[in-house]
Amino acid sequence: MKKKCYKMAALGLAMGMLALTLTGCGKAAPESNSESNAKQEADGKQEESAPAQETGEEFVIGFSNMNDIYPYCIKFRDYLVEFAEAEGMKVLIADAAGDAAAQNGQVDNFILQGVDVVTAITIDLDASIPAVNAAENAGLPFISYLTNVRDNGGYDGYIYIGSENYEAGLLQGQYLAEVLPENAQILYQTGNPNDSQYSARKQGLLDGLAERPDVTIAAEVATMNQKDQGITVMEDWMQVYEKIDCVVAQNDDSILGAIEAMKAAGRFEDVITVGLDGSDDALVSIEAGELTMSVLQDAKGQAQAAVAIFKQLRDGADAASIEDANVPFQTITKDNVGDYK
């Protein structure tokens, strides 16, 4: 009897937790997305974002997200669903959880489900070629976001919508070239050095700084774009560098962690801090006068560009005739942050 009580109590607690989950914290994504999100597993089960209403004429989009742990990917997914549904289209969603093989399988599933267009934030410029080939064999257009699959996967029905990572780094570099004092030292926090994104963003930064040979990158560590790592690395750097001029990160989470560490140590004065992504947290930080500058990865603009292309395809346009779309990054500082909130 006693044992039973103990079990019941635990069960009660579990239910309580579930209730807490379902009520949410008021920040949760639109319900349909949240639900589909919960049911997805790492190996990529698929869920419909809206109740199926088979009319036979409905335009259906299959979208495989890169990884649902990144705020940017979630933001993009939500905008895409919102804009597409506003046009009366239906979006099937899957999360590849960073695994190119899982994503290729999801694309195969979309094709079997009879979608009209296959789209993905593709994971790798080479490993994603099979997904493009699968779409080609099925005669469906393939739209890739952010990652430009090498040589279009050899398919003329391939369309790329993206913002060049190189350009993001370049904007960081150009901004720093303007504002940094003489002989400033940059401490650089990066993403995973295995990603093509890493080298493109870094090359952009270096090129942007080309006219300032007095400025040096004193240290570079991969924080894997994570906030906890941003804190740890910054704490260590503060032991080495007497004066900190400038910290640059390849994304916002990392730089916000570095700022947190400097604030805690009482050494956050006159430090120029630069992030990338323009996440909600970053905008708040810029507005508060902490983060100096970030580069906005325009999820909304990208989703709008995608839906504009969906409309052309629905109206019968040939995918081969549709141009790739480049959605530019935007520099955000305290001066213009109000426009983006």
């Binding site: 044992k3 635990a10 607690l13 579990a14 937790m17 807490l20 989950t21 949410g24 914290c25 008021g26 920040k27 949760a28 994504a29 997305n33 949240s34 639900e35 999100n37 919960a38 049911k39 997805q40 597993e41 790492a42 649902d68 742990i69 990144y70 705020p71 990917c73 979630i74 050095p193 240290a219 570079e220 560590v221 991969a222 894997m224 994570q226 906030k227 906890d228 804190i231 740890t232 690395v233 704490e235 260590d236 750097w237 032991q239 080495v240 989470d253 962690g257 947190e260 805690a264 909600d280 947290d281 708040v284």
Partner: protein
């Protein structure tokens, strides 16, 4: 016959201290910043979250179990605690929420393992996905901000000692006492050493396993609250992989995967060794790729010693 030196036994007793002292000496020689008190405090602060998780992980591994869901449960607890803090403004309630969240997940792990006879490895792996999913649903993938009230926990000091370090030492001390001086601790070693014999002697092994997971879960939950306080936000993407850092600390600290052997004291030294290596490589401006190689070799080395020790144990008996 001349007495053979038993390397394994010496390593169990002093090896970890020798490695620690050697590394400490080398680190202080190659970098002048290493010995600064502030830097030494930083190391302890940086390992605090993982070490608290590793307290529970050590207990479980000694009992012949393992928890692969610890990292993402820590994330879940940090987000729940952040959510509760934002909506109620009550720090105490937030901490309790985090701890209970960890306990509930721990209990579920224990239930799956004892009721359905699942391997701990598989059950906790499954729970990893559940914890991740719930975190994503709850947060919608974005960080939860506005937890200023709990700043003292992550960034405050007691004297010259950062609060996270104090909390970590309390947890280590508590689990140390629990494992060394209580009946429950005796069961941990007994079940890890020989489960069948323990069961035959009248101990309710299943119930004990659930209790172990609840204790470990509570520690993971507390670590989650600390993580949230350190980052001043509930981050749905931070915490993944912490379970492996915790297991590494335990194994480097002399905990054996075969069960029945290991102490939290050893784990603490193991954790400090890993933290020291990370720290000094950062101070020396060594790139992340090389840091990974060094860390990997360290784990391999520790496990080799672990295997050798096992051979030694068999030879003894």
């Amino acid at each position: 016959m001349k007495p053979k030196i038993n390397v394994a036994k010496i390593y169990r007793k002093y090896g970890i201290m020798l490695i620690f002292i050697t590394l400490f000496a080398v680190s202080s020689l190659i970098n002048k910043n290493f010995l600064k008190p502030q830097n030494l405090m930083n190391i302890l602060k940086q390992i605090s979250v993982v070490t608290i998780i590793a307290c529970g992980e050590t207990l479980l591994i000694v009992a012949g179990l393992i928890d692969l869901s610890a990292g993402l449960t820590c994330t879940l607890a940090s987000c729940f605690a952040a959510g509760v803090l934002v909506s109620t403004g009550n720090v105490f309630l937030s901490i309790i929420t985090g701890v209970i969240t960890g306990m509930v997940v721990g209990w579920c792990n224990g239930f799956l393992i004892t009721h359905f006879k699942l391997q701990a490895f598989i059950a906790t792996l499954a729970m990893t996905n559940v914890a991740k999913g719930i975190t994503q649903v709850y947060t919608g993938g974005t960080a939860i901000n506005g937890v200023d009230k709990i700043r003292w926990l992550g960034q405050g000091y007691i004297g010259i000692v950062p609060v996270p370090v104090v909390l970590m030492l309390i947890c280590v001390a508590a689990v140390f006492v629990l494992m060394k001086y209580t009946k429950l601790g005796l069961y941990v070693y007994a079940i890890g050493g020989n489960e069948k014999a323990t069961s035959a002697s009248g101990v309710n092994v299943k119930r004990m396993k659930r209790v172990f997971f609840c204790i470990s879960g509570a520690l993971v939950g507390l670590a989650g609250v600390l993580l949230m306080a350190r980052m001043m936000s509930g981050q749905p993407s931070v915490g993944d992989g912490y379970e492996f850092d915790a297991i590494t600390a335990a194994v480097v600290g002399g905990t054996s995967f075969t069960g029945g052997i290991g102490t939290v004291g050893g784990m603490l030294i193991g954790s400090i060794i890993v933290g020291m290596i990370n720290n000094v490589l950062n101070l020396l401006n060594v790139s992340t790729q090389y840091q990974l190689i060094v860390k990997g070799l360290l784990i391999a080395g520790a496990v080799i010693l672990d295997v050798k020790t096992k051979e030694g144990k068999e030879a003894d008996s």
